[in-house]
Symmetry: C2
């Protein structure tokens, strides 16, 4: 099971690192989580440079593909060369996005005529792709899901884990990051 | 204003990246957030290698020092050479921890006879330092604060920002990561 997170320069830190850590907490055979980019390294909006695990073209053979967010999505949604690397198939793959990552799903025609959510500042841009943008943390349309607001990463990751490994694994993973006394207990 | 986050190998990803991103969202003059370690690079529990901004000794001249968490805290709490690098002063500095980072505060004598919180698996170890461990997401004792459960990073960061820059800045920063429709709105 290959789960790919798509990154690029100026990615929003939490929108990459929260899904990443949550997905890496899954203890299941052949569960491979990887961060993919165009270069060997990408630097976050806050200035952290991290190594990629592979090129974005690996997304095409992944079981799950999640697009992170950041200012660059506004350029990349118009970058036909960048977009041409992706041949994603929602019939065979689970595809999702955090915040403005929805613009990249829309630019690939994955949200046309569908409902989706995105970061407030990208609402109009997303509507420009013929998407019905709704004020919800998480929207699922078949095998395509959009989450918005960093903490909605929990919904997106929960959707992936529940669908692939069941409710119990999902709940165990999501519970592990809750505050002590508010989900996590000493018993 | 220098805010230092202390990292080490096998740090818990969210416990570093969530405070980091939140603190970097502050837009204030001379607001410098840095990640400090013993080496130039440290690798997270999930396998991400990131560059440090400086050596841990810079913590001693920082206004705020926050310890992240991870399995290594169990060794480092007994590592007198490691601990000797820190000469922190809660009279002059704000000092805090995420999850098992509380063990490092305790090992420096910063929690003796005080209340604190930590990750459930470290409760007994923390009690071994003469700390009263309470099942709460966040505990403040003067200028020393402990948070537990990854999402309690919001409490820890909120405490720092509110104390240094006021309630309004704190609320703006914390709101920016809430899910759409559950704190963040399209208006």
């Amino acid at each position: 099971m290959n789960i790919s997170i798509i990154a690029f320069d100026e990615f929003t830190d939490i929108d990459l690192f929260l899904p990443w850590d949550l997905l890496k907490r899954v203890n299941a055979p052949n569960w491979n989580v990887q961060i993919l980019g165009e270069q060997s390294y990408h630097t976050s909006k806050s200035g952290l440079t991290i190594p990629m695990h592979g090129n974005i073209t690996l997304a095409n053979s992944s079981d799950v593909v999640l697009f992170t967010s950041g200012p660059a999505t506004r350029q990349k949604m118009k970058d036909t060369q960048y977009l041409s690397h992706f041949q994603l198939d929602p019939e065979k793959q689970m595809i999702g996005s955090m915040c403005t990552g929805a613009l990249l799903l829309a630019a690939q025609g994955l949200l046309k005529g569908k409902q989706a959510t995105t970061y407030p500042t990208a609402k109009k841009l997303l509507e420009g792709f013929g998407v019905t943008v709704v004020e919800k943390p998480f929207v699922v349309e078949g095998n395509v899901a959009t989450a918005a607001g960093c903490l909605a990463a929990q919904n997106l990751v929960g959707w992936v884990i529940e669908k692939l490994l069941g409710t119990q694994v999902k709940e165990t993973v999501l519970k592990s990051i809750l505050p002590v006394g508010e989900g996590l207990s000493f018993d």
